[in-house]
C-alpha cells in the first residue's frame, strides 16, 4: 500500500498533531480525525498539495453533544481521504467551503436543513431539501427528532 502510506507520511510530516491520527482502512481508503480549528488548513493542504481534487460529499452526523462532519475527498487515482471533524451541537457553526468547491453548497444546505448546522459565509439561496413551510426549528435527521404523527401501516 505504497500510495496510501506516502499520503499518510506527508500528512504526518506536515502536521505533527496528525501523527497517529491518519488511519489506513484498506487500499484507497484513509481516515483522519481533527479538531475544527485545524480543519481548514489540513483541508486546503490535501486539496492543493496532495492532489485530492474532488469533493465527493459532506456528511453531517448527530453525535449527541457534537455535530460530526465528514468531508470525503477523492483524488484521480481513486483514493478517498475522509476528514472527520466536529462542532458543538449547541453552537453548530460551520464555515463554508464553497469558495473551494462550489458544489459543496447542496451538502451544506442539507446539513443546515436536516441537522441544524449554521453555515457561515454561504450566499442566501433556496432551502434544500425541505419545503419552505417546514418549521425552521425542526431537524429531522437529529436522533431526538421523531415524526409528529404516526402513519398507519408504517414499519
Amino acid at each position: 500500500m505504497k500510495a496510501e502510506e506516502n499520503i499518510q507520511k506527508e500528512l504526518e510530516n506536515k502536521f505533527n498533531y496528525l501523527i497517529g491520527k491518519v488511519r489506513i482502512q484498506r487500499v484507497r481508503r484513509l481516515w483522519l480525525e481533527i479538531d475544527y480549528d485545524k480543519f481548514r488548513t489540513v483541508f486546503e493542504f490535501s486539496i492543493n498539495q496532495l492532489g485530492f481534487s474532488l469533493l465527493c460529499a459532506i456528511t453531517g452526523l448527530d453525535d449527541g453533544e457534537k455535530l460530526g462532519l465528514i468531508y470525503h475527498l477523492a483524488n484521480p487515482n481513486g483514493t478517498v481521504l475522509n476528514i472527520k471533524t466536529s462542532v458543538p451541537m449547541n453552537n453548530p457553526v460551520v464555515k463554508t467551503v464553497t469558495d473551494l468547491f462550489p458544489a459543496a453548497e447542496v451538502y451544506e444546505r442539507e446539513m443546515a436543513d436536516l441537522l441544524g448546522a449554521k453555515i457561515e459565509g454561504l450566499e442566501p439561496g433556496f432551502r434544500y431539501p425541505l419545503t419552505d413551510d417546514w418549521p425552521t426549528d425542526q431537524f429531522p435527521l437529529r436522533k431526538s427528532w421523531k415524526m409528529p404523527e404516526e402513519q398507519k401501516g408504517a414499519i
Binding site: 425541505l130 415524526m147 401501516g153 408504517a154
Partner: protein, 143 residues
Amino acid sequence: MKLINKIINWARRKSPWILHFNTGACNACDIEIIAALTPLYDLERFGVVLKGTPRHADILVCSGPVTRQVEDRLVRIYEQMAEPKFVVAVGTCSCTGGVFKGCYNVRGGINASIPVSAYIPGCPASPKAIIDGVVKLLKSLEE
C-alpha cells in the same frame, strides 16, 4: 373478443385524454407509463392520448408517493380537471405509499390527497399491468 371490441370502440369514440403527473416517485413507474405508449405495448390503440394540460384531461395518471413539496400541486391539478374525471394510481407507492410509508416527507398514497378510481399495484407496475388497469377502468365506465 366481442367485449374487447366494445371497449376499443368506446375508447375510440371517447378518446380519453390522460395527464401524467409524478408526485415524488423514483421514476420507475413513470418510465413504465411512457413505455406503455411505445410501439411494443401501444396504449394508444385504445384511443388513449397523453396530454399536457389538466383542463382537457379525463384521466389523471399518478405515480409516486405524495411528498410534501408536491401535495398542493396535486390537489390543484385535480381541481382544475373538468367532470367526469378519474384518477389512476400507478404503482405501489401511489396506492399506499409503498416502501416510503413512514418517511417524514411522505404523506402516503395518492388517496390521502385526492379520490382514486383505479389502483395498479406493482413496483414498478409493468406496462402490461398499466394497460390492464386502464382497460378495466374504461370497462367499468361502460357499465
